[in-house]
Symmetry: C2
Subunit: 467 residues, 2 copies
């Protein structure tokens, strides 16, 4: 069936589309528009076959089994390596031999016992999650007065002597993740520069059920490293109220962890192109997760729908012109470590990457793509999106994805999955990142869309143009 559709499509495609590079606005050549339109039957069939047969549900079942079997898969751990082996074997079992892993040295930060106790004005346990890779406290913990600020600006205004020897809590206002996460990443060094002995942040989330959110933080060079952790929205608000009432607040913070470096692996799965096997369209997600929760949403879903693309295209015997490469990045959560290693190793082959895609912001109901790259690239993707009724939204944030931002900065066009992820940050980096977040219908639709659109991009007669 796919062969017949392909034949019909090829007949109506005109191969004179190099013209598109000359334009930097959406005046795409009619022939290209017609070529894109000619994929309608194929994309419809791909979507239908994945959604309305066992293919999609079976993928979801494999996904559930994977998450249930391994749970959290933090950077540098044995369980992450076991989960990588498992996905390699699953790929081979699906009949794909072109699967390889590439070694990467990754951080291995292991959370130990953590506690925060309010000692004054009353004794209260404060739920906490250390931010990786925080240093440990002394064995007896750090006991100090608390200073509460709402912003870096507020902190800057305080005299150093008001902060020295104290614990600083940033009860920052959540606006959106991009703007607010700077408090997670930078607060330790900001507080340390003022002489603080530890820093806490309000968890970066718009909603909480007394839910602490962990995540990556960065110690600035030549600034003393201090222990740093996230507390809940609820406790941050309580502590701020007490502070505003000028009550003396004393906390004890205990945090223990270990840090070393380990070997991990990026996983690379190819479905070789029929015409340009050395040109790549990459679909990707990261296989590692934080140590809390099950890494089902972040990024089990994105990893799984990307893994599924070469597997199901192979099953369909639907081979695009370019190679469709799925990459399961390792150690994204420790700072895009796997992606950076891939970039370094393949630095001389970047011209071969035609388009790079990542799903790392949820696999809720799919909506479209966030596209980075030249305006013409965006115009072509916008035209392709017209093939997907209700999944045709396009945004241009400038930096789609997480790992792939490294590639987009190098001028490679790419896109991340837009989906109905307005609750994504409720679950992000918490114990609540479980399979309960992931509804089968949504994940299957994401997988179907991800497969169909990456197929079209990989099969187009023209490359996606760069800047």
């Amino acid at each position: 069936m796919y062969l017949i559709l392909l034949f019909i499509r090829v007949v109506i495609t005109i191969h004179s589309l190099t013209i598109i590079n000359k334009y930097d606005y959406c005046a795409l050549d009619n022939a290209l528009i017609e070529e894109i339109k000619s994929y309608k039957n194929i994309t419809t069939k791909i979507m239908n076959d994945i959604i309305n047969t066992d293919l999609g549900p079976n993928m979801y079942k494999k996904y559930t089994e994977f998450i249930d079997k391994f749970g959290a898969r933090p950077s540098g751990t044995e369980v992450l390596e076991q989960s990588i082996d498992y996905m390699v074997n699953l790929t081979i079992d699906a009949g794909i031999k072109d699967v390889a892993t590439e070694e990467v040295e990754v951080p291995h930060w292991v959370r130990g016992f953590e506690s925060v106790q309010m000692l004054e004005p009353r004794v209260k346990k404060i739920a906490v999650l250390g931010l990786g890779p925080s240093i440990s406290t002394p064995n007896e913990g750090i006991t100090a007065d608390l200073v509460v600020v709402r912003s870096f600006n507020d902190l800057d205004k305080l005299p150093d002597e008001d902060v020295q020897g104290k614990i600083v809590l940033f009860d920052e206002v959540y606006t959106n993740y991009g703007d607010t996460v700077v408090y997670r990443v930078k607060s330790a060094s900001k507080a340390a520069k003022k002489g603080a002995v530890a820093s806490l942040i309000r968890s970066v989330t718009p909603f909480s059920l007394y839910t602490p959110h962990t995540g990556y933080q960065h110690y600035e060079k030549d600034v003393p490293k201090i222990p740093t952790a996230a507390i809940t929205v609820e406790d941050a608000a309580l502590l701020r109220r007490l502070y505003e009432q000028k009550q003396k607040i004393v906390l004890n913070i205990k945090m223990f962890s270990t840090y070393d470096r380990k070997k991990s692996r990026n996983t690379i799965i190819d479905f070789k192109g029929s015409k340009f096997p050395n040109k790549y369209v990459i679909v990707s997600g990261h296989i590692d997760s934080w140590d809390v929760g099950q890494g089902a949403m972040d990024d089990g879903g994105g990893m799984m729908i990307s893994w599924f693309v070469p597997v199901v295209l192979k099953h369909f015997q639907l081979r695009p012109k370019r190679t469709l490469r799925a990459i399961l990045w390792t150690s994204e959560e420790a700072g895009l470590v796997g992606a950076a290693a891939y970039l370094e190793r393949h630095i001389n082959e970047l011209d071969k990457i035609n388009f790079i895609m990542e799903s790392d912001e949820g696999t809720f109901k799919p909506l479209g793509l966030d596209v980075g790259g030249s305006k013409t690239a965006q115009c072509i993707i916008a035209e392709i999106l017209k093939l997907f009724p209700t999944i045709d939204k396009m945004t241009k944030s400038g930096s789609p994805g997480s790992d792939i931002v490294l590639f987009i900065k190098k001028g490679i066009p790419g896109a991340s999955l837009l989906n109905e992820n307005d609750k994504y940050f409720w679950f992000h980096h918490t114990e609540a990142d479980t399979m309960e977040v992931q509804k089968m219908e949504d994940v299957v639709r994401c997988a179907a869309f991800w497969t169909a659109i990456s197929y079209v991009i990989a099969d187009l007669s023209v490359d996606i143009p760069r800047q």
Copy 2:
């Protein structure tokens, strides 16, 4: 100003309304309808004065300070008694001398260390909250295979030998609280009858961020007591999936607690009636809470808006004909213990209670009342609710409130606060029951409505008729 309004109202009221008892449908006497309508200026003024001056916000401030100062106030604890003393003093400070406490013997169940570990098929920590008053496990915990069922019916179908010596997990489907909570209350004895050594339930909630919910459970007489606890929705689903895959699941459960009995107190605050001081309209909420969270929603809000009624009426010098009594119940969470003690102590004075109200299902945006009692009682309340645009909804569940159900069963008419509490059970009996749930605007509107409507009921020329 209130006196002028009262005067106008009295003039147009006709005192010949005993007829209403003769009717059991909503053919209220016109004179009563006119009398009720005549309260419009007063209720509007009460609402406005509370909402649009400092009165409401100051009440909310007192409420926040109370919750922040004491946090959780479990039955039998010193902190509960301190919080009762605090409310007594707050009442006296507000100029009300008619405040008394009545001693009650209450359960004192203290949660100790609790943990559930999945040992097979992989090691995973399972978040847990014991259900009070669960017994403890042995020191080494209970290690046993897990059986997962979805209902009591499913359990009944299993041969006893499949359950004996095992841990039973009830992964019941949440429909609504009333129907689902039976799994919390009854599962331990149901499982023990089949020979189980411990029981777990899926937390009773429609939504979870990996949030365990505690609550009261009941050991049946002459059935072996076994340790019993709630786990999260997410882990219940995981364990069910593993069980359905016929994987061997082994758990270790450790739960330690102590149990004894202590003295506590109901708090009774009267604003004496001008005409019938020995007739009572009661407004109430419970001051105790579970040991997790801060008891802000359950039932700090309901307790506070009820406390506020005599206080603000006294401030207004707006004395109704009947005595307006606020009761802060103790030990509701351990099984309506304070309310039962009040009922027993005052059993010969029940005819003096004209109407009894309770707010124990949230103080979100107010919507109206859930009314229990005779049809005529309901008709009168419906007529009164017409005074409150947008807060005029009336339901007739048959058993409004929690503590007051004991009184309604005795034929006393009563009502509980209807409010926009569709998320109530997200927070209920969890660490997430904090001031973050309680928006000032909503609580103030609840307090204003609670005050105005209880005033009208206490001031009507007729008693609310019984069955």
